[in-house]
Amino acid sequence: MIKKLKINGNNLPIKSHTILNMLKEIRVNSKNNNIAVAVNYEVVQKTKWTDYKIKSGDIIEIVRPLKGG
């Protein structure tokens, strides 16, 4: 079933059921240890990416560090 997710402000159709598979589906390097994910404004720890079930309507933020002051 296709889920309609908002990922980093973009409406995207996603087939995957878990965060880890969703990252793979959108070609994000999930092995990058310096990314973090929030679903509906709650951080989901990396250790839970294989278990956490995403659903249609979820708002997802995927972030990483970059240069800053």
């Binding site: 972030v63 990483r64 560090p65 002051g69």
Partner: protein, 257 residues
């Protein structure tokens, strides 16, 4: 001389903290950081690009520095707290430079939201370093709610105007029982030295070095400025006097009638 700066359980030999943005390129950034002698740098937290692979700043910094994420660009408590929590997850650190700003023209701290954001993060076991106004009352409130240091601005971010309210900063230093680290608005090495001479415990800067005509040389100047200011503070300056006091005795002076 053992003159370490302690923030929570983390100790720093250098009292200069550096931001990592606005440099012409990464090569200059890395050279500037090296000559500055800094041990701690700040980074921001932003969305990854879904269209291309982003470079990882941590790969560029190569674990040579203690990383302090900021909540730059956050206007609300919820934004700042979520950004801090994402930063903790991404970087595995409890340290956060907390920024909650009130407008995008002056980038001045929004005290009304800064204090509850700081309180929520302290309650969630963050080591909170809040970027704040040079207001002694606000700084004391931030200390009282458990912030690990306070970071009053010298002047608005990126202005390079140097310390605008020397008097307030002195009160803040006098009242504080936690480190006072001047953050924002520094323009040149003398600004850093002045902050340290006032009794501040450190300085965080970014634009003053990154956008200097010669960033690497300016970083070197800042390194010297921070040490000069700190030593002058520890040495104890003479008091300011209204009238002159000769440095040379009049005894033995020639006289022409």
């Amino acid at each position: 001389m053992n003159d370490l700066l302690s923030i929570e359980k983390k100790k720093f030999k250098s009292r200069l903290f550096m931001g990592t943005s606005k440099y012409p390129n990464y090569e200059i950034l890395l050279k500037a950081l090296k000559v500055s002698g800094t041990e701690a740098v700040t980074v921001a937290i932003r969305r990854i690009s879904l269209k291309k692979n982003d470079e990882n700043i941590l790969d560029i910094l190569k674990k040579d520095y203690f990383i302090i994420p900021n909540t730059a660009g956050c206007y609300t408590v919820k934004e700042a707290v979520l950004t801090a929590k994402l930063a903790r997850e991404a970087l595995e650190t409890n340290f956060v430079k907390l920024e909650v700003i009130g407008d995008d023209e002056n980038l001045l701290p929004d005290v009304e939201n800064l204090i509850p954001a700081a309180k929520e993060l302290v309650n969630n076991n963050f080591v909170v370093l809040p970027y704040c106004n040079d207001d002694p009352i606000v700084c004391k409130k931030l200390e009282d709610i458990g912030c690990a240091a306070i970071m009053p601005l010298a002047a608005p971010i990126g202005t390079g105007m140097g310390i605008q309210n020397d008097y307030n900063l002195r009160i803040i230093v006098d009242n504080a029982n936690i480190p006072v680290i001047v953050d924002a608005g520094v323009g040149t090495a003398s600004d850093v030295a002045v902050a340290m001479e006032i009794g501040c415990d450190g300085v965080l800067l970014n634009t003053a070095v990154a956008e200097a005509h010669n960033p690497v040389m300016m970083a070197s100047a800042m390194a010297k400025g921070i040490v000069a200011g700190r030593e002058a503070f520890l040495a104890g300056r003479i008091s300011k006097k209204f009238h002159a006091k000769a440095s040379t005795t009049n005894k033995g002076k020639i006289k022409i009638n």
